[in-house]
Symmetry: C2
Subunit: 349 residues, 2 copies
């Protein structure tokens, strides 16, 4: 029997199970790892004893017997600070976790800023070499993203979160029209009488910015509006505020501003109102992402809704499917769509 | 030499290093694991060769040689949904990550709702038994929190995020006066002429709610205000809105409402304004946490500031110190303090 030593609980080990079951350690290992070489009766007996004794093989031992680590990695190349300021990632993580938790998987997370692509590549290499993960999720792809070739080279199962800019032989999940929503937004503000449109975007090298810019330009051309400015930012509220001030100082002042996320739109609303301009009468404001809090803002924010949690869940699900888990079947992922609220439509009543 | 096979990069292994260095695998293992039994010269040579060959022992092998996993676990017993809606955790994670990334540690994260305390305890047991972590961070302690005895019983190094309600033999990091800020908030609104105070709190069993309630009651008694209501919620904007409506429907309507987080305060502001009441003239509003976006709200939010990122960083730092890492020295952690903005003070000009 396994006796406590000095009040501490000693872990049950394979020898204990072998002794309790009356079999060799080799037989216990075969039973636990579902390997041939013992009778079904012996296997059933050992599994019962192991369960009764509360024994679980260590993750390392299981991994060494090639059953995987049940761990997915997610590396975010951001300063942790920027993460805190952008609610997008909390929603994405929530979606990822909802699937991983259901399948008993862990998420191995690192958020850090890498100074060079070499440093970032090294982090992936070390992660794969240390054999502590089964797969990896890749977010925020850039226009020329070395990570996509890297995960191929490393031979690690990977899923890209949202459509990458270039075609690549790594699976991705997300809307097939990632610029969608921008055309709806343009149509909506033009209908409200706003024809001078500006776009306050995220970092200019991101795939999603490229897709949205492309869609915006097409919509502007199609719908009889004029584009009076594009301001790339680091996606922070501070830069959203500053970009809005610049746009309002222009000779050709925009009458509608589209933002790449809701917190920039929120900051933009302050910049607009601080000049005595009315929202939406003088300037209409459209955000992106439909954060949980955006409907509580004053004015409640018109925004392009993305189902960020659904995106995280779907990407995690796809990766677990690749790893051989029995996962849910999803239909095609919906395109982004516009949610109309007060920042583009005068309050009724 | 290690040649690529079919274009894929094969991992360098211990045999390769032994061959390249001209020593046995046993000697390579001794050199890498800093064990006795080989000469200093041989050790230095092997380490040079291993580095040049790009060889790193696998995480499992290192762990098996008892050098630890360089991984910290963080289990949040929440539905992933609630996580997404509460920006507090993104800031906390950012702080934790800022320290872990610096020391080359990984965060093993699981966010999931456990139906029973037994299920939650089982998750901790499995985690420790699977030997994939070096330590654990414990957040959102409850008034009678079984997890604190559990981590002691499991013998896993742990740090509690913020002062627990009961004294416990597990280290914690956070302000020594976790209810601080509530007294300042009461003083501030009373000074502005608001004496009927209400409190919209988080879940009633949380330690932080208990500390804040205690401080609030003392401040009310000391400062000549009256408490006209306490409404516990699940910390969501939705419940913050509903609690505010209930308070405004009371015969004794509050003239100042203190909220346990900023998104509830934001929702509360909508409820107040939707009745034609002015903020702060009719009802003053005080949030908690000073989120990145709170200064951009309309009205900009008066709030109790917590340095959430600093809290996460400090807790991670303390845990790494316990694990023997060479960590930064921090001075005492500052108490929460009030940041005054428009929701309690009429806009100047």
């Amino acid at each position: 029997m396994v006796k406590p030593i000095d009040g501490a609980v000693r872990r049950v080990n394979i020898s204990d199970v072998a002794e309790l079951a009356g079999y060799s350690k080799g037989s216990v290992s075969k039973a636990m790892n579902n390997q041939p070489g013992i009778s079904d009766k012996a296997r059933a007996h050992i599994l019962r004893v192991a369960e009764a004794a509360g024994w679980r093989p260590s993750a390392r031992a299981v991994a060494l017997s090639s059953q995987g680590t049940r761990t997915i990695a997610f590396l975010l190349n951001r300063s942790p600070d920027l993460l805190a300021s952008d609610p997008f990632f909390a929603e994405l993580l929530s979606g990822i976790e909802s699937v991983l938790a259901k399948h008993g998987y862990w998420l191995l997370l690192r958020i850090g800023h890498y100074d060079t692509p070499e440093d970032e590549a090294q982090a992936y290499r070390e992660l794969v070499q240390s054999e502590r993960i089964d797969g990896v999720l890749v977010a925020e792809t850039r226009v020329d993203d070395f990570r996509l070739a890297l995960v191929r080279e490393l031979g690690i199962p990977a899923v890209i979160i949202s459509k990458p800019w270039a075609e690549v032989d790594v699976p991705w999940e997300g809307p097939t029209s990632p610029g969608g929503g921008m055309d709806e937004a343009v149509g909506h503000v033009v209908e409200g009488g706003h024809t001078r449109v500006a776009y306050v975007s995220g970092p200019a090298d991101r795939s999603y910015v490229m897709f949205r810019t492309q869609t915006l330009l097409e919509a502007i051309a199609d719908q009889g509006a004029s584009l009076v400015g594009i301001k790339p930012t680091n996606a922070s509220a501070e830069q959203g505020f500053a970009a809005t001030e610049e746009l309002l100082n222009q000779r050709q002042r925009p009458t509608a501003i589209l933002y790449d996320n809701d917190q920039m739109a929120l900051a933009g609303c302050r910049a607009i109102r601080s000049r005595g301009l009315r929202i939406p009468e003088d300037v209409a404001v459209v955000g992106h992402d439909d954060l949980y809090v955006s409907k509580w803002f004053t004015p409640a924010l018109t925004t392009v809704s993305q189902d960020i949690e659904g995106l995280g869940a779907r990407c995690a699900n796809r990766l677990l499917g690749i790893l051989g888990e029995d996962v849910e079947e999803y239909g095609p992922f919906g395109d982004p769509k516009l949610i109309v609220r007060e920042s583009t439509s005068p309050v009724a009543g």
